[in-house]
């Protein structure tokens, strides 16, 4: 991917503003929105490593999210250990699971791969929701709140900075994938595996690495999310909707770009928060209207603006600079 220099400035500005938010804002509701935007952005950025940079479109990334969420929740609720240990366990398990999915990506292409990832996340969903003795089954697990950094019992401001840290780190991974040797080679694999092989690139191994990295990154945010929200529900954390949402944020923002997942998250999470607030008093289910908008937006974006918001911005910039010339 050619580097979008202006995009970097937008990213610096966005993350900079977020860093300043807690200084001026004490409203828990607004801080909550900021945290969710960052976490969703980081999740989408994690998905983007596989779906965007490696071109392996997964509809089962919720599996890794759930692994991270459950590892930490069980570690804290059942074993009274630090969620950070759960985070590490989640990463380890996701590396294994990601390796399996990565292996599948070498055997299966396009819709077959997407179907296999859905099946994978569904198996985990069934296990998590039916293995009552260990996971508490479909009731889910409340995550105990114990104040302190080691226990991830943090206030809103601390959460903003933690989420920001993850977001910036993941943005950095994206930049690395756009500028490093491995990143260029991965782009080659995404564009044409056979041609990449002819140029000396071990394409299969590289794809497995990318999917595994993406899985581990997703798991980390899964852990933070569970600790932040305080509850793990198997039907949510392993849902196909969640997997779709990672992809959706990324595609609307700009697939295969560093900033795209964060822009998509900003737009969609804000829209969701606004609509939920506006329609929450109305008859049940009406808050779901934002999902109707998403779905429709997804159809329209892949058809008419496949490069997403970042691509649209680049297009407009070219047009305006031509107009000025």
């Amino acid at each position: 991917m050619p580097a979008l220099a202006p995009g970097r400035w937008v990213a610096v500005a966005l993350f900079g503003i977020v860093a300043l938010v807690p200084a001026g804002v004490r409203d828990a509701y607004l801080l909550d929105s900021v945290i969710l935007i960052l976490l969703w952005g980081a999740l989408s950025a994690a998905w983007n490593v596989a779906g965007g940079y490696a071109g392996q479109v997964s509809l089962g990334h919720a599996a890794f999210f759930g692994i991270g969420a459950y590892s930490a929740a069980l570690m804290t609720a059942r074993f009274q250990q630090s969620p950070w240990l759960g985070l590490m366990l989640g990463v380890a398990l996701s590396i294994v699971a990601g390796g399996v999915i990565g292996y599948l990506s070498n055997r299966l292409r396009g819709p077959y791969f997407a179907l296999s990832t859905i099946a994978f996340s569904q198996v985990l969903l069934i296990v998590a929701s039916r293995w009552r003795g260990f996971t508490a089954g479909s009731e889910g697990i409340p995550v105990p709140f114990r104040p302190g950094f080691w226990t991830l019992g943090l206030g809103h401001v601390a959460w903003v900075y933690l989420a920001l840290g993850v977001a910036v780190l993941y943005y950095g991974v994206a930049i690395w994938l756009e500028t490093s040797r491995v990143g260029y080679q991965l782009a080659g694999v995404r564009e044409d595996e056979d041609a990449a092989e002819a140029l000396g690139i071990a394409s299969r191994r590289l794809k497995v690495y990318a999917v595994t990295l993406s899985a581990a990154m997703t798991s980390v945010v899964g852990t933070f999310w569970a600790q932040y929200v305080g509850f793990v529900d198997p039907f949510y954390v392993f849902s196909i909707d969640l997997s779709v949402r990672f992809a959706l944020n990324t595609i609307i923002g700009g697939i295969g770009t560093g900033l795209g997942p964060f822009l998509g998250s900003l737009l969609i999470t804000s829209l969701e928060t606004y609509l939920r607030a506006t329609f929450s008093g109305m008859k049940t289910g009406f808050a779901g209207i934002y999902l109707v908008i998403y779905g429709t937006a997804l159809i329209l974006v892949v058809r008419f603006v496949p490069e997403g918001l970042t691509g649209l911005a680049a297009r407009l910039r070219v047009r305006s600079s031509r107009a000025h010339a």
Partner: protein, 241 residues
């Protein structure tokens, strides 16, 4: 440098390549011709690691590489272009070539410089920033060559890089191949069009139904009755000279 010993490749009941033996020495410019479906591309796919031979050996600098994946073979100094070009469509011409250069130059900046140099050699300089998918077919064929060259191969396999080109483009690519050969690169060139090959290769192998039916100098080949038989009904190809 490259030796094929009775290489055979079958697909189900169909034998695409049967008992083909070849010897390519350092500095050779070998041509492989044959009618459509003769097994030329299949042979390339076997040599470059895309297919595992069902029988026989592929020796690259004495090492049996049959069944090794393409990226390993590339790193041993053999790479190829594709008949149906496979550009990294969404990347720029420069990035395409740079990905080739990164194979032996781990630093991105160094690889970019090398890519610029190779692009200039191949006459793609003015298109460095263009998206690969936006190039016309003649330039895409050049891009295939440039990208392969960037990996610094010692042996380069060109799969129909001349097909579908207009006379000007054809002249350009023939000149490029000659220059690369003069600079010491060993080449195997597949071509369906005999005429272009006659001007280029010193030694030609003719494949028909997966088997070698003739081998020799261009003038010998054109007189060989088996070759004429094989191309029967395809005279227009010979006549395109």
């Amino acid at each position: 440098m490259l030796t094929l010993e009775r290489v055979t490749k079958r697909f189900g009941g169909l034998t695409a390549v049967r008992d083909v033996s070849l010897e390519v020495r350092e500095g050779d410019l070998l041509g492989i011709i044959g009618p459509n479906g003769a097994g030329k591309t299949t042979l390339f796919n076997v040599i470059s690691g895309y297919y595992r031979p069902d029988a026989g050996r592929v020796l690259l600098a004495g090492r049996d590489v049959g069944g090794e994946p393409p990226h390993v073979i590339c790193r041993l100094g053999l790479t190829r272009t594709f008949q149906i070009v496979k550009p990294f469509g969404n990347l720029s011409v420069l990035d395409n070539v740079m990905i080739g250069a990164l194979t032996h130059l781990p630093r991105v900046a160094a690889a970019r410089d090398e890519a610029r140099r190779v692009i200039d050699t191949c006459g793609l300089g003015p298109y460095a920033a263009a998206r690969a998918r936006a190039l016309p077919v003649g330039l895409r064929k050049r891009l295939e060559v440039a990208r392969a060259l960037a990996t610094r191969p010692r042996l380069l396999l060109l799969d129909e890089v001349m097909a579908g080109l207009n006379p000007t483009e054809l002249g350009g690519i023939v000149a490029l191949i000659r220059r690369l050969h003069a600079e010491g690169l060993t080449l195997i060139v597949i071509e369906h069009i005999m005429a272009a090959m006659m001007r280029l290769a010193r030694r030609i192998v003719v494949l028909h139904h997966g088997e070698t039916i003739a081998e020799g100098r261009p003038d010998e080949i054109t007189r060989d009755p088996r070759v004429i038989d094989a191309y029967l009904g395809e005279e227009f190809v010979l006549a395109e000279a």
